[in-house]
Amino acid sequence: MPDPSFVFQGTVLALGESTVPIVEADELTARVRVDRVIRAPGAMESVVGREITIQLQAPASVDTRAVFSADGWIYGESMAVVERGARAEVGERPAGVTAEAADTSMDELESPAARDRAAAFRSELGARLAEASRVVVGRVVAVGGLEAGPTTPGRLSEHDPNWTEATVEVEETVKGRAPRTIKVMFAGSQDVMWHDAPKLAVGQKAVMLLHRAPAAAGRRRANAVLHSLDVQPADAKDVVTGLM
């Protein structure tokens, strides 16, 4: 199971209350203020200061300040999330110190947030790296023209990956063995199903995590880059090798 998608520091404002009308509150439903976002997509980092609902795994008390890990549930005027994973209490607020003042004194949480993002990236990249049959540093010297018809005969679909072949001059082999020049398949389609798959262009130099192309690509035993992490900037070679 992937890590919780939302990690934030928050303060429990009330129990048995919901900020989302269609979420019926029970004793494990808490209204919390988001004091700091540690892990979330960029579009959701601006929820700092907003009150949200969290369905707790275990009871908490009002004024609890903790780092919550959660998955998304309902998003509306506010949002509701479901707690998952360990909760780390931030600590008692000293008497006479406001919550805001306490927050500003906790800059140490900034680096955990950054560390979290970096760790997630390394984890995902490491997984792709482990699955890759070859890893090379190379330069794209040619890209085959897009085929006129569907990649798979008799299967014309707007979601066709539009398999495209790039010729890559290998400068360095990081994993496995590779000849000096190799063919690499990639999905040329801009369709919603493939737009975030890596695209290769002539002149592009990159670290390529090569995988076995799907049978549907029509080339037996071909190399392919399939996932957005499969093509890394050439200067990320050290990062890649460091993960091996």
Partner: protein
């Protein structure tokens, strides 16, 4: 009123996704519950993708993560459809997986539980799932969800890829895949290796399923094909009921050899064209009327052109283009409960670099001879830059929950009022003055992107849409005015009722009105008061609603007549009032010759919200077409419900009149279903004069060979259940798969004293009729019954009374039998004999049961006797039947036929508007006598001539004229049919 909402939730204000290709589903039982979809990921990047949910009719929206997907991504293609009981179905292309079809279901679309995966199919790949769902109203499958998922399935043999995945019981579908879904291949012709992506189903509640698809033939040449199944796709073969008039294969080709481009790159503005522009819609009032809209590229053009065509004969023949829209894509077409057609599309206007995407809806009530158009959005076509394709979506969606139209489209989300001419509401943070979007903090600017926009177009403002509920189950669960009504039995718990005093009475624990059996008799003795609870779908301004009440004999198919001659009652609903119960009832009279077994109906109107013509006056629901007069029009409601008590050891007998309201000779098919209580094996049902059968939990009984206006009697014996307080059975008059009308009967377990009181009242009613029909020695019995009824009725007093009246039954039964003139079809003698036998044993339950059966038999015999002297309520049916007969080839050349047709139709039309009444009928018949005589002469039939002479002789009495007219038509029909 037009209401357009950007449905991105406020908390997600920071998003810049390309939320394209939207789809919409509306809960048919509660149109406030709406689900929508787009290419929208979980805002927090989780593994499940969201659907948009609204529980307030689309005013506000949330996202709920319930679609299985992959972390950080939206799902692939997704469409939605609601079944019954709040079940939401989705068809998606699952990520990861490419062309991996998943069909999903949730029973609660606001809960966090991820949808169940019912179907998971990849193989050679499946594309563009498109979901429609509906509930079966009647028959052995009543209540089941039918689910249809059109898709382009590359697993199909021989490249015939157009497919509809069908579940005949979506609620019962249980993983693992394919649960109870079956992939039905609908393409019978050779293809160019495959069909094109869109396969669009449209479902009618009568079980008619249309499926439109692009049959790809060669090169870019494509046929637009509409296939049809007439029975839910539940038969041995599916989608084969419509065969092409050219090649005889399944599916009528609406047009052949059109150029449908497949260009999976930016080709129309920043949008692609991937042969996905196809929509089909069926008229909810009449499944024969079906519309199709598609996009193709005519020679010499660069963009897509949309076409709209219509069929009125179940897809066999099609009109020419009724609308043609150049430079447009994403057509969506649907029909509302009034037969008005909505047509939504997105058009690329202007010249580069000032092109705009204009989202427009057109509405017409006359097949686009005239139409209104609303521009919902006009936005720059060159921004934002596309993230992927489709830019706006390969389709949009349009639905009609009743009178209104709801739809969804995607567009540039710049907060600029000029971009949304009919008005706009944003949930996300936006400053329209500076045309700036802001993140959830209200401070951080956010770039423009593509968002989904929901819209609601009200044909009638909610506060003006008055209705009478067809059903109520509790204060929270009741008919909210949806059209058609969402409950299959719409006549046993409606908000129209009658009382014997001028007070509406209290509502019961289920928030239902308490109906009282009406009384008959002269003057005050036959005075009743009809009530209605009037609701409306919103509040805002005061309205004055007019209530008009009608009655017909209890059963199905009998034509309604005005309940009384008093002026209609108006009811004022204050500005903030959504529900009013009539404080004072409509006084109506049941004369001494009338049975108290009646159906009651109400039509509520306001100047803004009239009933949908025709009125029930002179008609029965479902006829002369199968238009569902009551459930398709929330201004009408009817109560066809008979309830009686029986002692624990006894039973109740009830008769229902089965009348042929059609204009053709036919068998009447009645489906029954126990709707409450399990009942007992000795419950029986049968047609009087025929054999009875065990009343199983559900079944069918066929009433054979009835002429128009003819009737038979259905007899039902019901025993009170062992544990249930009430046992109920509902009968539906079926025409094909459609329940056009019906009635319900319930027996309530009651103490014998209560049963005795009921029987005494019933006897007073029936004996009053006997007296009015001139039977002797009845007045004395009525008086005795009244006296007994004035005191507390005990078993002893009842038995003594019953023994007394039984003495008089011998003569009465004999006399009644001779007056009815046929053998004792009602079983009068047997009921009398059984009652006497029970009296000997002093078994109160049994005496009551047989006494009740005897009273029912007498009542029905009297009604039949009355029918022989004419039925004024059937006058219009006579005239409509007359029109049908004189249009036949053997008669349509007669010299006076034009006048006959004109006068007949004019009377029917004026009768509905109350410009003429029953008393004007003789004058109308006088004007058509020449035509009737010419027919008798032309056919040279002595019987017909004799019956013509009877018609001519009865011109001074509308009631007897109706009968002689009917006998003339009955004879005529045998000669010309």
């Amino acid at each position: 009123m037009t209401h357009v909402v950007n449905i991105i939730p406020n908390i997600f204000s920071g998003e810049t996704n390309q939320d394209s290709e939207p789809n919409l589903a509306i809960d048919p039982a509660d149109p406030r519950r709406i689900a929508a979809s787009a290419f929208t990921p979980d805002p927090l990047g989780g593994a499940n993708a969201p659907v948009f949910v609204s529980v307030d009719g689309g005013l506000t929206w949330s996202l709920n993560n319930i679609v299985p997907s992959t972390a950080g991504n939206a799902t692939g293609d997704i469409t939605l459809g609601f079944g019954h009981g709040g079940r939401l179905y989705a068809g998606i292309l699952r990520r990861p997986g490419g062309l991996r079809l998943n069909i999903l279901r949730t029973t609660n679309f606001t809960s966090p539980t991820v949808m169940d995966v019912l179907v998971d199919r990849t193989g050679s790949g499946v594309d563009q799932p498109y979901v429609e769902a509906a509930r079966v109203f009647r028959g052995s499958a009543a209540g089941r969800d039918r689910v249809y998922v059109g898709n382009n399935d590359f697993n199909a043999a021989s490249g015939r890829t157009a497919t509809v995945d069908v579940s005949l019981d979506g609620a019962a579908a249980t993983p693992p895949s394919p649960a109870n879904f079956n992939a039905r291949r609908i393409e019978p012709r050779a293809t160019n290796g495959q069909d094109l992506p869109p396969i669009r189903p449209a479902v009618h509640i009568d079980g008619t399923i249309y499926a439109a698809y692009f049959g790809w033939r060669t090169g870019a040449l494509t046929d637009v094909v509409v296939a049809r199944d007439d029975n839910w796709a539940a038969g041995a073969t599916q989608f084969t009921n419509l065969t092409d008039s050219g090649d005889g294969l399944a599916g009528q080709r609406v047009v052949t050899g059109v150029n449908v481009p497949f260009e999976n790159f930016q080709t129309m503005g920043m949008e692609r064209l991937v042969a996905s522009d196809l929509s089909v819609g069926v008229d909810p009032r009449d499944s024969s009327r079906v519309w199709v809209a598609w996009g193709d590229r005519p020679g010499g053009t660069t963009n897509l052109t949309l076409h709209v065509r219509r069929s009125t004969d179940r897809g066999q023949t099609w009109s020419a283009d009724l609308r043609t829209i150049p430079n447009a894509k994403a057509p969506a077409i649907c029909v509302n409960s009034r037969g008005r057609v909505g047509f939504l599309y997105q058009q690329l206007t202007g010249a580069v670099p000032n092109q705009r995407w204009v989202t427009r809806i057109e509405r017409t009530g006359d097949d686009f001879a005239t139409f209104g158009a609303d521009v919902l959005a006009t936005v720059p076509a060159n921004a934002p830059a596309p993230t992927f394709l489709p830019y706006l979506g390969d389709y949009v969606d349009l639905k009609s929950p009743g009178k209104d139209f709801c739809g969804i489209f995607s567009a540039n989300n710049t907060p600029n009022n000029a971009n949304f001419p009919t008005g706009i509401q944003y949930q996300r943070n936006a400053n329209f003055a500076t045309q700036t979007l802001f993140a959830a903090d209200g401070i951080t600017p956010v770039n423009v992107s593509i968002d989904p926009f929901f819209f609601l177009l009200t044909e009638l403002a909610p506060d003006a849409d008055v209705y009478v509920a067809d059903w109520t189950d509790s204060a929270a669960s009741f008919d909210r005015g949806v059209e058609p009504s969402s409950e299959p039995v719409f006549y046993n718990r409606s908000d129209v009722w009658t009382r014997i005093s001028n007070a509406p009475g209290a509502f019961d624990a289920n928030n239902r009105p308490v109906n009282e059996p009406p009384v008959n008799g002269p003057g005050v003795a036959g005075r009743n008061f009809a009530f209605a609870r009037i609701r409306r779908r919103g509040t805002g301004s005061a309205v004055v609603a007019t209530t008009h009440f009608l009655v017909s004999p209890f059963g199905t198919g009998s034509n309604y007549e005005d309940a009384g001659t008093m002026p209609d009652i108006t009811v004022t609903m204050g500005a903030a009032v959504a529900e009013v119960t009539m404080a004072s009832g409509y006084r109506w009279q049941l004369g001494p010759t009338s049975s108290t077994h009646v159906c009651l109906a109400v039509e509520v109107t306001t100047p803004q919200d009239p009933i949908v013509a025709p009125s029930l006056l002179g008609r029965a629901p479902g006829w002369p077409t199968t238009d569902l007069l009551v459930i398709n029009d929330n201004n009408k409601a009817q109560r066809n419900m008979a309830v009686g008590p029986a002692g624990k050891g006894g039973f109740m007998t009830m008769h229902a009149l089965i009348h042929n309201a059609a204009l053709v000779r036919r068998d009447i098919v009645l489906n029954w279903e126990r709707t409450r209580g399990e009942g007992r094996r000795d419950d029986r049902v049968g047609i009087i004069g025929g054999r009875s059968q065990i009343l199983r939990p559900s079944g069918t009984i066929v009433v054979r060979d009835l002429l128009p206006g003819e009737h038979r009697w259905l007899r039902l014996t019901l025993h009170p259940g062992e544990d249930e307080p009430e046992t109920e059975v509902a009968f539906a008059e079926m025409v094909g798969n459609v329940a056009v009308n019906g009635f319900a009967v319930a027996v309530r377990a009651a103490p014998t004293e209560e049963v005795s009181a009921y029987l005494l009242d019933r006897m007073i009613s029936v004996y009053t009729r006997l007296e009015a029909f001139g039977f002797r020695r009845t007045e004395e019995s009525v008086e005795r019954a009244r006296k007994v009824r004035e005191r507390k009725v005990t078993d002893d007093t009842y038995l003594a009374f019953a023994a007394g009246v039984a003495e008089s039954h011998d003569e009465l039964v004999r006399e009644l039998g001779s007056r009815v003139g046929r053998r004792d079809q009602f079983g009068l003698a047997a009921a009398h004999r059984l009652m006497r036998g029970a009296l000997d044993s002093r078994a109160v339950d049994q005496v009551q049961s047989h006494h009740g059966a005897l009273l029912e038999a007498i009542d029905s015999a009297l009604t039949s006797l009355d029918t022989l002297s004419g039925v004024p309520a059937d006058i219009c049916q006579n005239l409509r039947w007359q029109v049908e007969l004189f249009r036949l080839e053997k008669l349509n050349q007669l010299p006076s036929v034009d006048r006959l047709l004109r006068e007949s139709l004019a009377f029917v039309s004026q009768f509905e508007t109350r410009d003429v009444t029953v008393k004007d009928y003789p004058r109308a018949m006088q004007s058509v006598l020449d035509g009737l005589r010419e027919a008798a002469d032309a056919l040279d039939d002595r019987t017909l001539m004799s019956r013509f002479e009877s018609v001519a002789a009865d011109l001074d009495d509308p009631k007897s004229l109706q009968r002689s007219h009917w006998e003339y038509l009955a004879r005529l029909s045998t000669l010309v049919s």
